[in-house]
């Protein structure tokens, strides 16, 4: 499973997301991935990062999120590591499909988008840290 890797340490602030996206795109550019694969990876990055921003930390202190982008022969994996509250996305229930616009929840789609984009989703809690790995198929 050895592949090229990009490792980034990100502050839990919204303004860290843009530079992280740019770094990921620059890292992936030589691989000339299909635009749909890149779209999915951008979705995973955005939704996982925003989910951590909103829900992972109970204090106002700055935390560091570790992001690893791994380019493998048949998939690209994004791994997120944080010291936030324990949360296992593989066991979170999805909201039901709404019957009408007025019934539709305003939010709650981030994790669904990650699941739809992913070929596999893994989570482990170890030594007080969440480690989530999301793999997107290359083809």
């Amino acid at each position: 499973m050895n592949g090229e890797q990009l490792r980034l340490s990100l502050a839990n602030r919204l303004d860290a997301l843009g530079p992280a996206r740019q770094a990921m795109l620059a890292f992936l550019a030589p691989a000339a991935l299909h635009p749909q694969v890149v779209f999915k990876l951008e979705l995973v990055l955005e939704e996982a990062f925003m989910n951590l921003l909103w829900h992972a930390f109970r204090d106002a202190a700055e935390h560091t999120l570790e992001l690893t982008v791994e380019l493998l022969p048949d998939e690209v994996a994004l791994s997120f590591e944080d010291d936030g509250i324990a949360f296992d996305p593989t066991h979170a229930a999805e909201p039901p499909i709404p019957a009408s616009l007025l019934d539709a929840p305003i939010g709650g789609r981030g994790l669904m988008l990650v699941r739809r984009a992913a070929r596999s989703l893994r989570h482990e809690r170890r030594e007080g840290r969440n480690r989530m790995r999301v793999a997107v198929a290359r083809g």
């Binding site: 919204l14 997301l17 843009g18 635009p35 749909q36 779209f39 951008e42 979705l43 955005e46 939704e47 925003m50 499909i97 709404p98 009408s100 616009l101 007025l102 019934d103 539709a104 305003i106 939010g107 789609r109 981030g110 669904m112 988008l113 739809r116």
Partner: protein, 113 residues
């Protein structure tokens, strides 16, 4: 973002760029205000939107609900294939009109409820 008043009280909102966290934050207030202009018959051109994430969908749903509550309608049109895929995966097309062309969007926006 370009806002145009069309015949029949229809507002056209033409979006450009990315409906991600930053992009949505940048346009949110103006988009919501434009979508709330009476009589809340709004068509949203997504041709220039290359990316959409959950915050972008949240903005669209919130404004569409507001329009619906005021007896209006919001119609999305012109989504690129990848944006359309995401809208369908999230069943957005099941709760509000999502059509391919501006002509169809205007037709839906004009139609009585």
């Amino acid at each position: 973002m370009e806002i145009t008043s069309l015949e029949g009280g229809i507002t056209r909102i033409r979006l450009q760029g990315r409906l991600d966290a930053m992009g949505t934050d940048n346009i949110g207030v103006h988009f919501s205000a434009a979508a709330a202009m009476a009589p809340c018959r709004v068509v949203v051109d997504l041709c220039g939107v290359g990316f959409i994430a959950s915050l972008g969908m949240r903005l669209l749903i919130t404004s569409a609900r507001n329009a619906k509550v005021k007896m209006g309608v919001m119609v999305l049109y012109g989504a690129t294939d990848m944006v359309q895929d995401v809208l369908e995966q999230m069943a957005i097309d099941q709760i509000m009109p999502v059509v391919p062309s501006e002509a169809l969007a205007l037709e839906q926006a004009r139609a009585p409820d």
